[in-house]
Amino acid sequence: MDTRSDILRELQELQSTLTGRQVVNVFTVPDGYFDSFSGSVMHGITGDSIIKTVIQPAGSNVPEGYFDSLADSILSKIKQQTAAEADEPLSPLLEGLRHNNVFKVPPGYFEALGGNIAARLTTGDELPALLQDLKHKQVFEVPQGYFDSLSTQIISKLKPAPAKLVNMRSSLRIIKYAVAAVFTGVMALSIYKYTQPQQAQLSAVHEAGMILSKDEVKYNSEFEKVSDETIVKFLETEGQDVDAALAAMSVDEKELPTEDELMLDDKTLDDFLNNINNKDLNN
């Protein structure tokens, strides 16, 4: 064989000790292995499952029904192993504590447990005869025709009462008078202050007062043209107490004290204001 002679020549060139030694195969195969090899390969490809081929060497048989009982036998072995592990002794400390139960139940708990569970499961329809008899005996009475009128009563309560209408114009008229009165008062004080030491200027101030009085009439007529909404807005933007102004709405203009009443009695104005406050409180 050319190949062999080539290999030998190569060994000689390497001065190997292997040169000239007989090649011996130290490994062996089972007898007839190669004879049955091709057959077992083909059986694996074309025959039963690969698993069976592996478990069941070619040419050998398994006991009948082996695979049917295999799972059971494996499970049985697992159980045996688990039982053996469970039987391993605990540490002496834990073993001693095993039966020391620290939890307590009320006396007679377990005797009554069955009854209690049954009670929870019962539909509750098993009433004592005593209560069965009383079930439909009505002891309460209702006024005659109560149910006939009930829905009407409720519906009438749902409808809101008409809102109280307040005449904005009359109340704002009071504010206008109040503003005019304050304005006049300020002017009167100014006149007093400036005229007291200087009598000579009195006539001039009187003249000014006359002019102002005329202006006031003009002012009032101009003020009449301003809408209520504008006045409310103005009071709000100025940070004025709009609620107090609105409270004044409830005052009837006719109830205002006359000029004579105010002149004759100092307390008239105080009484009038107190009266308004009391009305507010009562409402």
């Binding site: 009383l134 079930k135 149910f147």
Partner: protein
């Protein structure tokens, strides 16, 4: 007994502005008696029951637009009526500044003040016995005993498990029986 429309139709009427009032009147008429007796058994006196019932229906009017139709109208009404009754009893308690047991004995006294009250009659004894129960247990007993409400429905009304309701009813029955026989 007058025929009533089903709840779906009543709710449809209520949601239509043109038929809202008519629909609501029908709802009141349909449930007023059942709810009245439920409330009356809780608060005892007719005047109190009437106040509670009317307030309850006014609340229903305000809340019915938001009512989710996936739950039953009947269950929902019972829930509101129960809560209103319990709130009323609570208010009475606060007004009187007394303990719960005093309120219960107060309710018993109201029973005994009834012109028809007869201590020798079992039906009156039963009413006195019911007033001895704790509030929630009283509700459970009344709903089951008088209204024969299924536990599943009662569970939705009182938001309590069916098991707990069954146990509560069982205990209530035992207490009442014992009260009547030994009291």
């Amino acid at each position: 007994m007058a025929e009533h429309l089903d709840d779906k139709e009543l709710l449809r009427q209520f949601k239509e502005p043109a038929t809202k009032e008519r629909g609501f009147t029908q709802i009141i008429k349909k449930y007023q008696e059942k709810l009245y007796w439920h409330v009356r058994r809780m608060v005892v006196e007719h005047e109190d029951a009437n106040d509670v019932l009317q307030n309850m229906f006014i609340k229903v009017w305000n809340a019915l637009d938001n009512f989710r139709e996936d739950s039953q109208l009947y269950t929902w009404l019972y829930r509101i009526a129960t809560n209103e009754s319990l709130t009323f009893i609570e208010q009475q308690k606060r007004k009187a500044s007394v303990s719960l047991s005093d309120v219960e004995s107060g309710l018993s006294n109201k029973l005994m003040a009834d012109k028809h009250f007869d201590a020798n009659k079992l039906e009156w004894k039963l009413q006195v016995a019911i007033q001895q129960l704790p509030e929630k247990q009283r509700v459970v007993f009344n709903l089951r005993y008088y209204d024969e409400m299924p536990y599943e429905q009662m569970s939705r009304v009182l938001e309590t498990s069916e098991g707990a309701l069954k146990a509560s009813y069982h205990h209530a029955v035992k207490k009442i029986e014992s009260f009547i026989l030994n009291g």
